[in-house]
């Protein structure tokens, strides 16, 4: 026997709900010919049908949740990648600092003025030290 799909289950829930509503309409329309006990008996049936419809909707929602597990896992993996990309930007900044320090160094060297080099070397060392410090798991 084939398994019930969520769509089948939702449809089934609608059938129960609509049957209960139709029963209620009939009961009210024919109330003059119904005794108190017949009225109460039908009322009970309607409640049972409506509760059964709710129970079927609950099951159908459970089926959709189960079916969506794979997509959910894939989307969560994308979320993880996005977070990792954002984290990489923070690390990337340090690489950029290093690149900037290198440019400063290159600028000092290409200026041909040897006295300008120490300041550039300090900047370069600072940038490199920052990277080493942040990538050190002990720090």
């Amino acid at each position: 026997m084939e398994k019930l799909t969520p769509d089948d289950a939702f449809e089934l829930g609608n059938l129960f709900r609509d049957a209960a509503i139709a029963l209620g309409d009939w009961r009210i329309k024919n109330r003059a010919s119904l005794s108190q006990s017949q009225w109460a008996e039908l009322d009970d049936r309607e409640i049972k049908l409506l509760n059964a419809a709710s129970g079927i909707y609950t099951n159908a929602i459970g089926l959709v949740l189960t079916e969506s597990q794979t997509s959910l896992a894939r989307l969560q993996s994308s979320v993880k990648n996005a977070k990792s990309a954002v984290r990489r930007i923070a690390i990337f900044k340090q690489v950029l600092d290093l690149a900037s320090a290198l440019i400063l160094f290159a600028g000092a060297v290409t200026s041909g003025n040897v006295a300008g080099i120490p300041a550039a070397v300090v900047a370069l060392e600072d940038a490199a030290a920052a990277i080493v410090e942040s990538s050190d798991p002990e720090s």
Binding site: F10, R17, N51, S78, N81, A82, A85, A90, F92, S100
Partner: protein, 289 residues
């Protein structure tokens, strides 16, 4: 010798400035992610509609007032089954929110951090007293442009990749949530509406009921109010469904045009999708307040 050195320094300074100008020109083609950022931020806020799960589970307690005591045990059992689904239902919504926050972070980037770092560079450039003015300007301009260009391009690349990989699972998750909302929760609320209606109908129309005009008037009023409360919940769920539809459509647009993200006219073309999402979200807020 001194003249030669000056010429060489001036020439290297010019080259740096020229390189900076080239970078500036390439940067001018990039990249405003404003509309992507706005879309992601709106989606992140709108995707989580707490009232949905709360109402779905709370429905069973609300229904007790419309049913005799003998049915309350069944309602409690069903409530426990729904409680067991709570985490999964919340996770569906939360995952869409998390995804959009990730997209928003990439679209916004923390440029200020880079600018602070570049301020430090400016200050070290000032300290480098032996570089002449044009060289300092060239080095500063290059560093600024290098930082901004590379981060912009990096963000653009990561965003495209995220949108490419995330689109299908996002569409699937949203489709599953919409199915739960439309076919499950709205249909279940319609059941609640039928239960509330028949409760007051019974009160007013049951055979052998004594005719009490004041009690009838009060019952009529209570019936209208009870049905209006359920209708409001149904409207909230339907508007949330519209919000999800707009999020899915907006993201599909991003996916279909991902290679154009960051281009000058992209933001203008994407804006209608953002506006539609904003209108749908406002409409949801109107009903959920």
């Amino acid at each position: 010798m001194i003249i030669t050195r000056h010429i060489s320094a001036a020439s290297s300074g010019s080259r740096l400035i020229f390189a900076a100008l080239l970078l500036a020109a390439s940067l001018s083609g990039c990249a405003s992610f404003k509309e992507v950022r706005t879309f992601a931020s709106l989606s992140a806020n709108a995707a989580t509609y707490d009232a949905l799960t709360r109402d779905y589970i709370g429905a069973l307690d609300r229904r007790k007032q419309y049913q005799p005591q003998k049915f309350h045990g069944d309602l409690e059992t069903m409530k426990m089954r729904r409680e067991a689904q709570r985490a999964s239902l919340d996770l569906l919504q939360q995952t869409v929110t998390n995804y959009m926050q990730g997209l928003g972070s990439l679209a916004s980037g923390d440029i200020r951090t880079f600018d602070r770092s570049l301020d430090n560079l400016s200050s070290s450039l000032s300290d480098a007293t032996l570089l002449d003015r044009s060289e300092k300007e060239a080095v500063g301009a290059l560093s600024t442009l290098l930082a901004r260009t590379t981060t912009t391009l990096y963000r653009q690349h990561e965003m495209k990749q995220l949108i490419r990989d995330g689109n299908q699972p996002l569409q699937d998750v949203i489709a599953a949530t919409r199915k739960i909302v439309k076919r499950g929760i709205v249909a279940d609320l319609q059941t609640e509406s039928a239960l509330a209606g028949r409760y007051y109908d019974n009160f007013m129309l049951a055979p052998d009921n004594p005719v009490e005009p004041v009690a009838m008037a009060l019952a009529k009023e209570a019936r209208v109010e009870a049905l209006a409360r359920v209708d409001n919940r149904i409207r909230g769920a339907q508007r949330y469904d519209t919000v999800l539809d707009e999020i899915a459509a907006g993201h599909q647009y991003l996916y279909d045009h991902r290679d154009r993200i960051g281009q000058d006219d992209f933001g203008r073309q994407f804006k209608p999708a953002v506006d539609e999402l904003r209108a749908a979200y406002r409409s949801l807020l109107d009903v959920s307040r």
